[in-house]
């Protein structure tokens, strides 16, 4: 069952035979029953007749040929094609050379900076110096400006450290106390 919206869309194509065969019979059935769509079809056809009648272009305006003027301006086709091909090759070659030069330059710079010899940055300074300065800068920043990091206590480490220090102190006491005898030291151990 076709609705009027669909029918009106198809009527617009039907009036100039732009509608496929399958839809035509459905549309004709709909138009036979729907006076509104039939009226729309008539109005559409009338408006198209007016469109065509009001848009006639007189052929007498077109009688002068443009070919004579155009023929004077046409370049030699084969020369033009050769020129086009030459320009294409020129562009492709220039682009390839530029790519190769860029790759070569960047590879050389990377190699020199990796090996630590030669290699200059954009300001003309030696790469290794620049790297040193950058390292120095990073170090100084770490010392002074770095944000304080949260310290997470490692209790196992603290215990071991405490024990180690105690042992060292005891040993120091043993070594420095002249009253301690060798037997007392052995007993404490």
């Amino acid at each position: 069952m076709m609705n009027c919206r669909r029918a009106k869309l198809e009527i617009s194509l039907w009036i100039s035979d732009d509608l496929s065969g399958a839809s035509i019979s459905n549309l004709e059935e709909h138009i036979a029953r729907c006076s509104d769509c039939e009226s729309y079809r008539q109005r559409l056809q009338e408006s198209l007749i007016n469109l065509k009648a009001g848009s006639v272009v007189s052929n007498r305006d077109l009688s002068d040929s443009i070919w004579p003027g155009l023929a004077e301006e046409l370049p030699n086709y084969q020369e033009m094609q050769q020129r086009k091909r030459f320009h294409g090759w020129m562009l492709a070659t220039a682009f390839s050379v530029a790519c190769v030069a860029m790759v070569t330059f960047s590879t050389k710079q990377n190699f020199l900076s990796w090996s630590g010899e030669g290699g200059y940055d954009l300001d003309g300074r030696n790469f290794s110096q620049t790297a040193d300065r950058a390292g120095g800068f990073r170090r100084s920043r770490k010392d002074t400006d770095a944000a304080p990091q949260m310290r997470i206590p490692n209790y196992r480490y603290l215990q071991l450290e405490k024990k180690r220090r105690t042992q060292i102190n005891n040993k120091a006491d043993d070594d420095t106390n002249p009253d301690s005898t060798l037997e007392e030291i052995d007993q404490r151990k």
Partner: protein, 209 residues
């Protein structure tokens, strides 16, 4: 004038072209590619009137339309190597011409000097073939005003299909769109034209759905 070339017209032909040449389009294109200008001349003579008429639907000024037609032929000549000889020459040529014209109109519209269909009808001479030229001019002016009110994408389809009688497949090839898209736009264009036409003529419009 925005065209790259403004060519001379009305001078004596420098090459005599056989207007009854029966060679196929593919053969003419092939010969033109080999450097035979006269073969291209045959193509020009075959298509120039229709091309100017199509362009004239968009710009109305005859001299401007002829300039666009010359530019179209010149561009097509420069791009003959891109033309697929298994296809028809006409749609390919009209595509270049219509795109050239629409680009020009878009640029003018962007510059705020949009005059599509808005040149005075008095610029054009009345056609003696019409019984009452004044009546015809009034109708033409009215049609132009209505067409102006339709968006470009619908108007182009309406002009090519209903005024120039290209088939929907040809219109699709010229505008480089799918045939289904062209059909839908054609239906929409006709519907819009009818509504605006009815409104301007004071006729009863369709009932609201």
């Amino acid at each position: 004038m925005v065209l790259k070339t403004k060519l001379k017209r009305g001078v004596q032909p420098i090459a005599v072209v056989d207007t009854d040449d029966v060679r196929s389009e593919a053969k003419l294109v092939e010969d033109a590619r080999q450097g035979d200008r006269d073969s291209f001349g045959v193509l020009v003579l075959r298509y120039e009137q229709r091309l100017i008429r199509v362009i004239l639907r968009f710009v109305t000024d005859l001299e401007l339309a002829k300039d666009f037609a010359q530019e179209t032929f010149l561009r097509s000549y420069e791009r003959l190597d891109q033309f697929d000889s298994s296809r028809r020459f006409g749609p390919w040529l009209f595509r270049i011409g219509v795109n050239l014209t629409l680009d020009y109109l878009r640029r003018r519209k962007r510059r705020g000097k949009w005059t599509l269909f808005s040149e005075s009808p008095s610029d054009r001479q009345p056609d003696p073939a019409v019984v009452d030229p004044r009546q015809h001019q009034e109708l033409s002016q009215e049609i132009r005003t209505v067409l102006e009110a339709i968006p470009e994408k619908y108007r182009s389809v309406l002009i090519l299909r209903d005024l120039e009688n290209f088939s929907t497949s040809e219109v699709a090839a010229i505008l480089k769109r799918k045939e289904a898209t062209i059909r839908w736009r054609l239906a929409e264009a006709r519907s819009r034209f009818q509504k605006i036409w009815a409104k301007r003529c004071g006729l009863a419009t369709t009932k609201p759905e």
